[in-house]
């Protein structure tokens, strides 16, 4: 217990060290290292096929890295998966929800998987937080893309994670839904949560992240603070495929 507290108190929310991954002898990620502290947000910017999704899947424990370590709250995601995984919430391209199940059934299912002690109360709390009360008993296949995305966020924060990993969360959302997403994430960060987000939308990412890193050719080639002047120009300057387009 003492060791657990020590790890929680002294460690970064997320720490990746020397992450490498290759598919069919092609290096997709090469020696990626970075840290995200509690309450911070980092946007990973990169062109298509730059390795953003692969990086996030490794951080989430879905894919195994060839080399390197990922620590969540000080716990190694491979060696102490049972401690590290419950600290992660994942938002992906897909909503990770079952179309034939209702909103409530989906959340109850994941509450069971995470073995929450207060399942009923937490599911109701999340439904209220995400403004899903109206859709509580509706099957997911009947919901709009924006509502499904709210459910996806609800599913990701259901077990009170310390870190949210969001892969292109703005895709397919209208401006109102995008703003809603940003509000929810900022509230999560204010409560001490950390965020790693991949996006092509630098302006939107800037509303919920403090730092932006450019992933190109499988490695981080540059980083900047969101407050810096002309961040978009900076990202474009450091991304190979964007240069090629220009």
């Amino acid at each position: 217990m003492a060791e657990e507290n020590l790890k929680k108190n002294n460690s970064a929310a997320l720490e990746a060290e020397n992450i490498s991954k290759s598919f069919a002898n092609k290096d997709v990620l090469r020696g990626i290292s970075f840290k995200v502290e509690a309450g911070d947000g980092v946007c990973v910017y990169g062109s298509n096929a730059s390795g953003k999704t692969t990086l996030l899947r490794i951080l989430a424990g879905i894919l195994q890295a060839k080399d390197g370590t990922v620590k969540i709250g000080g716990w190694d995601i491979k060696k102490s998966a049972e401690k590290a995984l419950p600290m992660i919430g994942v938002i992906s391209h897909g909503t990770m929800t079952y179309p034939q199940l209702t909103v409530e059934e989906n959340l109850k299912f994941f509450a069971d998987i995470y073995n929450l002690s207060d399942k009923k109360e937490r599911v109701t709390e999340v439904i209220d937080e995400m403004n899903l009360s109206k859709f509580r008993y509706d099957v997911v296949s009947s919901l709009s893309r924006g509502t499904r995305q709210r459910l996806a966020i609800g599913r990701a924060v259901l077990h009170r994670p310390k870190v949210i990993l969001a892969d292109e969360p703005f895709t397919g959302l209208d401006s109102k839904s995008k703003q809603k997403f940003i509000d929810i994430i900022n509230k999560f960060k204010k409560a001490g949560g950390a965020l790693v987000l991949t996006s092509h939308h630098v302006e939107l990412a800037g509303k919920c992240c403090e730092k932006i890193v450019v992933l190109d050719g499988g490695k981080f080639v540059a980083e900047a603070n969101i407050g810096d002047d002309d961040v978009r120009r900076f990202c474009e300057d450091h991304s190979t495929s964007t240069k090629e387009k220009i």
């Binding site: 899947r57 989430a60 424990g61 879905i62 894919l63 195994q64 998966a81 049972e82 995984l85 419950p86 992660i88 994942v90 992906s92 391209h93 897909g94 909503t95 990770m96 929800t97 079952y98 179309p99 034939q100 199940l101 059934e105 299912f109 994941f110 069971d112 998987i113 995470y114 073995n115 099957v139 599913r155 077990h159």
Partner: protein, 229 residues
């Protein structure tokens, strides 16, 4: 331990609800088996226990392919498998939950398919009903054990149905032989177990199948984590 049971139960109940709402898998399984039974009936001449045993095995194998494939397509479509993998450290629980669902589906399917086959071939296995249940249950467990593992491997492949069929057929072949012998004994009132039975008793055949099931459930449960990772 109780956490594992909760996860297994949650996956099983979720899959059952999903199937009750979509009705896709079970309907396809039943239609396929009726077509198979009818085609074999047209080629036979009345009471043929050997033909009935073959029809039951063919129906179970092809239906299990549909069932195992669908059970993972549901996970793959909206990226739900990633949600499960990022939530549960123990992949074995996911495997057992899916396996239980597939076995249950096949057992329900048997309840529909066996009477259809008996009507088609004028058979009455009433005297050997318990033996029939034992054989079918062992077949369902063995086929589902292999199918659940292979379903997870091929879920992201476009031509998954054909790949899954070939792989399942190859791996369950050692169990098909005693299963057919057992079914022949059931339908021919214990007279003969066919060309491969070599004078074995029913309990020996059931024992072989149980051993196959135990080996495959254990191996597939251990390997599942590597395949989904």
């Amino acid at each position: 331990m109780s956490n594992s049971i909760n996860i297994i139960k949650a996956i099983f109940v979720k899959d059952i609800i999903n199937e009750l709402r979509s009705k896709q898998t079970f309907a396809s399984m039943v239609v396929l088996s009726i077509i198979i039974a009818w085609i074999f009936r047209l080629a036979s001449s009345g009471v043929e226990s050997a033909m009935a045993a073959a029809v039951i095995m063919v129906s179970v194998v092809f239906s299990s392919i549909l069932c195992c494939e669908r059970s993972f397509v549901v996970e793959h479509d909206e990226g739900c498998i990633d949600g499960l993998l990022s939530a549960s450290a123990d992949r074995g629980n996911i495997y057992i939950g899916k396996l239980l669902f597939n076995v249950t589906m096949l057992c329900i399917f048997d309840c529909v398919m066996v009477p259809v086959v008996c009507v088609c071939f004028n058979l009455t296995p009433a005297g050997n009903l318990l033996k029939l249940i034992v054989i079918l249950l062992l077949v369902n467990i063995g086929v589902s054990a292999v199918g659940t593992l292979l379903g997870s491997i091929v879920m992201s492949i476009k031509s998954r149905s054909s790949v899954l069929s070939i792989l399942i057929m190859a791996l369950i072949m050692p169990m098909m032989i005693p299963a057919i012998s057992g079914l022949l004994m059931v339908f021919s009132a214990g007279a003969d177990g066919g060309m491969f039975s070599a004078g074995q008793s029913f309990s020996e055949i059931a024992g072989m199948m149980a051993a196959y099931d135990a080996i495959f459930v254990t191996v597939c449960w251990l390997v599942f984590g590597f395949t989904v990772d």
